[in-house]
Amino acid sequence: MSATRRLARFLKPYRHWAVLAPLLMMLEVAMDLMQPRMVQRIVDQGLARGDMPLVLHTALLMVGFAAIGAVGGTGCTVFSVLAAQGFGADLRSALFAKVQSLSFGNLDRLETGRLITRLTNDVTQVQELVMMMLRIMVRAPLLMVGSLVMAIFTSPTLALLFVVLIPLVLAVVIWLINKSHPLFSEVQRRLDALNTVMQENLAGVRVVKAFVREAHEIGRFRKANEQLMQQNITAAQVLALNMPLVMLILNSGVVAALWLGGVQVKAGSLQVGQIIAFTNYLTQTLFSIMMVSMLTMRLSRSEASAERIQEVFDSQPEVVNRPGALAEFAPRGRVAFENVTFSYNGADAEPVLKNVSFVAEPGQTVAILGSTGAGKSSLVHLIPRFYDVKEGRVTVDGIDVRDIDETALRRQISIALQESVLFSGTIRDNIRYGRPDAGDEEVIAAAKLAQAHDFIMSFPDGYDSMVGQRGVNLSGGQKQRIAIARALLMNPSVLILDDSTSSVDVETEARLQEALAAARRGRTNLIVAQRISTVLSADQILVLDNGQIVAQGPHARLMETSPIYREIYESQMER
């Protein structure tokens, strides 16, 4: 439970409520425990002695107890909900803020999909746990101990029955938990197997249909489905023993109490009301034991969630501002790599970039070419300091990027990423994402430059068209152009296009390049490209292979001096 305990710090601001709730629950339980006692009084004292005022008085007392219990119960609800909701909101907020502070390296490791689950499902799980802790986890044990004490108090001799009954119930519950746990793990495994078949079938639907493999797929599915069904049945049938067995023990206990009680009543050492009260306490004790064991199982599930959340809190951002980092920064745009070596993971991992050195002068266009995995994206990601270098240094206008405030640096270095993520909102909002205060003229100018204006105007709502699930359908190339406009609006000193025109058709791309070249006004452009046409007019082309710069220079010179460049160039050509 260590992870759960560590998250308990978020309960601190609500500790008054978190203490009050169990106290009120205690009140409710205490009142509940009084009820059988009162029935006993009515039967043994009121009825046996024909004392009508005592009967009515006791009944009224019961109503009073019930009312006090209700106050306790509802009060507990209010305070536990306030505590749990406050806890959940604070935890969620802190977790979200933590994620915002993480760097690209952390995000790579934590994975998007799993991060989302942590922020949604896992937080909810832990929040529910807190609520349970404050209510049921207080109620069940209290009721268990309270009923046991009251039962012993009501009749110590009958209470000897517990010596047999409690171990029996515990044995059954523990046996069942142990037996069913592996069965349900297997159910989960088989469910995963079925999901895999289904997922692959959906993702590969064209292949399935093209090769006419529907029957084969159905066969695969039937087999997985049959296996899941068998396991489900086995597991459910084992679990089916639970209630009947516990009830049998419980009811046997009641019958035993009735008989033993009957014997004692005849001997005059016990009264009927005591039997009635005792059997009530007995039932409550045994039921609470079962409840507590079920809740314990539930706890282990929440613990898993707590662990996943704690893992995020434990990640340390890899890129942090140095003390005294440069807060104001207005560079001309000279980017230099000096013997840069970089790897994504630990020191012993194979470096992605090895000993890379080059200089991009202000106003130059530098193209970076290479096959998938050569290190092109890694290289440009070092400039806005998404990652830190392992060796060497990256400088902008001669200043190490690690000596510049992150925000100040990124305001000057704008990047259109490979996957162009847009946010829900209007196209206008998306373009001015980096500068929400930008005027309409600026937005339109950026869109025109990015060759996006025309298609945006073709939508009925123009720049006010909504993007996303309920908005206009944008093609990959259109999204990329909006992302480029977004980057251009920043009016950066260094503009990086990280393979961000891959889905734009060639003609449009050529226009885009012309426009960028014309409008660059001393801006340094770095362009990562897969297509060779993209790089031809660059002032400088860097050819990356396996993390190293293997050739460097303008097109004409590379054609003459670099066999690798020529090979890449010719591979797309007829021989």
Partner: protein
């Protein structure tokens, strides 16, 4: 603990114990918040029709159902006997001190309880199997039907949604069948039974009890229930909004950081988070009231029975045993009311889920075999499009009056900008979609008159993005022809230039590939797809050349293999490489859903039309122009660059 365990155990039908004067553990509200928090109550559109369909499946488990129904009736009856016998024990044996009679009665009670437990177990045991068989059958039907559906269906539905139908929705149905239905029946029966027995035992006390407890319970469920429902709706809305923000932000986290928008995003998040907290607090407080308030009513009922019963006992209108029995009956009387209300929501949700499942099963298979569809054996490979028009969405034509003819063995290159309709031509030839007008013929036969399976068997398709299934390399290639021997698979891999890299894999052909095949490069995956197509040995080929560059050596291997594959077969190529285009027998230039130019590379260049323009635009960046490039070529210099992407697109 895995989810199913705790979920099942929370809902396991609770046989009411003979004596209960406080709710067990958490009471009705106990497991509530979690279940509510995640799943809002849904409402089915046509519950009657859906239930009838479900009954169609359930009918197959008739014997189990009949047994379960009998067992439920019997256990309910036996449960009623418990408190009654208790009353008898007190009045007739304990108070008079008849120990011999008490022993007999105790034995009888023990037998009753044992029988109750036995029947409960049997009924759960049998129903579990029946429910699982039923949902397995539904799942099979759903999956099998999905296999017959046309691509349009898969385009229009999110995969996550389809997955959730097959898992969550079906899972819900299963739970309702296994537990909720029997619980509901049992609740109704015990409600009626309790009322009857109470009236029989002591009608005066019965009336007092029945007038107070159930009405208060009903009032309570309504009052709290109404507020809770409204609260949960709001909470659900707030949760959906917050989750939307989370999903979007985390997915775009890198952009957020690149533009330094962390603070703005956090402000947006905090606003939605506060809203969720407010709505959640309201919903949870009201739903949380159900537990303690039910408890209050129960205790009140107890007080009434004890007080009124005590008064009647003193007046000679009731016995001590009757009071003892009534204490239990009163509780049994209130319990089913609350249970029925809860079950109603669960069952509603399940029916809504079943509705979604049946909706899919009812989806008409758009592309089907015609009644008089003929088989298709080997083909010569003549392909003709006659005035073909097609639209994915009504009113948005994608192909307009397209006519083309490919002679057997010809290579046809499809060229044009993104979204021009190249992929659509391929989709129509394979009958992934049916055309709206015109005709597509293979060897003079309309493809709608050919058995779909035969048609597709004669078409080999190599897509850009190779899909690999979980399984070995061997199995993945064999997907092309399931009865191929290992030797045939290896031979195909050799022809596809895939053999060398496969042998370098850790377990060669027996290497397990993961779902998304992260362990293979894109080029290697493409080689496997080619091997698959070679093994299938189709008469007509459809190739979609990859746009993204792979390393040069693999690129050569792929080109070689593709050429081998195309030899002697009519081939349609969505072309991205100049070499492919130059070697094609026919180039079809497609723009805005129309074939605007056709011919060979040379004739098209000579036309100085769209193709020429497209071709030349590649050189603008170079600044040298087409003439220079052509001169270079003739002079034996390396030809001017045609980028991978004279026709970018997927």
């Amino acid at each position: 603990m895995p989810a199913p365990m705790s979920r099942s155990s929370e809902r396991t039908p609770i046989v009411p114990p003979p004596f209960m004067m406080g709710r067990p553990g958490g009471g009705p509200g106990g497991g509530g918040p979690g279940a509510h928090f995640m799943r809002p109550v849904e409402h089915a559109k046509n519950p009657a029709g859906t239930l009838a369909r479900l009954w169609g499946y359930l009918r197959r488990q008739r014997l189990a159902l009949i047994f379960t129904a009998l067992a439920v009736a019997a256990t309910t009856g036996l449960q009623l006997a418990g408190p009654y016998l208790l009353g008898v024990a007190i009045d007739r044996y304990i108070l008079p001190g008849d120990l011999a009679g008490l022993v007999r009665l105790c034995a009888l009670m023990l037998a009753v309880y044992a029988l109750t437990s036995l029947l409960t177990w049997l009924q759960t045991y049998i129903m579990a199997a029946a429910a699982q068989r039923t949902v397995a059958a539904i799942r099979n039907d759903l999956f099998e039907h999905e296999q017959t559906l046309a691509l349009r269906f898969f385009d229009q539905h999110a995969h996550g949604d389809l997955m959730s139908r097959l898992t969550n929705d079906v899972e819900n149905i299963s739970m309702v069948l296994a537990q909720s239905v029997t619980q509901l029946v049992s609740a109704v029966l015990s409600l009626a039974g309790t009322a009857a027995v109470m009236l029989f035992l002591n009608w005066r006390l019965a009336l007092v009890t029945m007038l107070t407890v159930p009405f208060m319970m009903l009032f309570l469920t309504r009052w709290v229930g109404g507020r809770t429902r409204a609260g949960f709706r709001q909470q659900q809305k707030a949760l959906g909004k917050l989750n939307g923000i989370i999903e979007e932000t985390i997915t775009g986290q890198r952009v957020v950081k690149a533009y330094g928008r962390e603070q703005a995003v956090m402000a947006e998040f905090d606003f939605a988070n506060r809203e969720l907290r407010r709505a959640g607090t309201q919903a949870q407080i009201f739903s949380g009231f159900i537990g303690p308030l039910m408890n209050f009513v129960n205790n009140l009922g107890l007080a009434i029975v004890a007080g009124a019963g005590g008064w009647m006992a003193l007046a000679g209108l009731a016995t001590v045993g009757t009071i003892a029995a009534f204490i239990n009956y009163a509780r049994q009387f209130g319990r089913p009311l609350n249970e029925i209300a809860n079950l109603y929501n669960t069952i509603q949700s399940a029916i809504a889920g079943a509705e979604r499942v049946f909706e899919t099963i009812d989806e008409p298979a758009e592309v089907t075999d015609a009644a008089d569809a003929r088989p298709l054996a080997a083909v010569r490979g003549e392909v003709v499009f006659e005035d073909v028009c097609f639209e994915y969405e009504p009113g948005v034509p994608v192909l307009k009056h397209v006519s083309l003819r490919a002679e057997p063995g010809q290579v046809v290159a499809l060229v044009g900008p993104t979204g021009a309709g190249k992929t659509t031509i391929v989709n129509l030839l394979t009958r992934f979609y049916d055309i709206q007008s015109g005709r597509i013929c293979i060897d003079g036969q309309d493809i709608r008159q050919i058995k779909l399976a035969d048609l597709r068997r004669q078409l080999g398709i190599v897509l850009q993005d190779t899909f690999l299934f979980t399984g070995t390399v061997m199995e993945n290639i064999r997907y092309g022809r399931l009865d191929a021997t290992d030797e045939e698979v290896i031979a195909a891999a050799r022809l596809a230039n895939a053999d060398p890299f496969i042998r370098r894999l850790p377990h060669g052909y027996q290497t397990e590939l993961s779902e998304r095949a992260g362990n293979l490069s894109q080029g290697q995956r493409q080689l496997l797809a080619i091997a698959r197509a070679i093994l299938a040995d189709p008469g007509i080929l459809v190739l979609d050349e990859a746009t993204s560059s792979v390393d040069t050596r693999t690129e050569k291997h792929i080109q070689e293999a593709m050429l081998r594959l195309m030899k002697g077969r009519t081939s349609f190529v969505i072309a991205h490489r100049l070499s492919t285009i130059r070697n094609a027998d026919q180039i079809l230039v497609i723009n805005h859903g129309e074939i605007i130019e056709r011919g060979t590379h040379e004739t098209l260049l000579a036309q100085r039309g769209f193709y020429y323009h497209l071709y030349q635009s590649q050189f603008r960046a170079d600044g040298r122009g087409l003439a220079a490039a052509e001169e270079d070529r003739k002079a034996g210099h390396p030809p001017a660059p045609i980028p991978v992407g004279i026709a970018v697109g997927r």
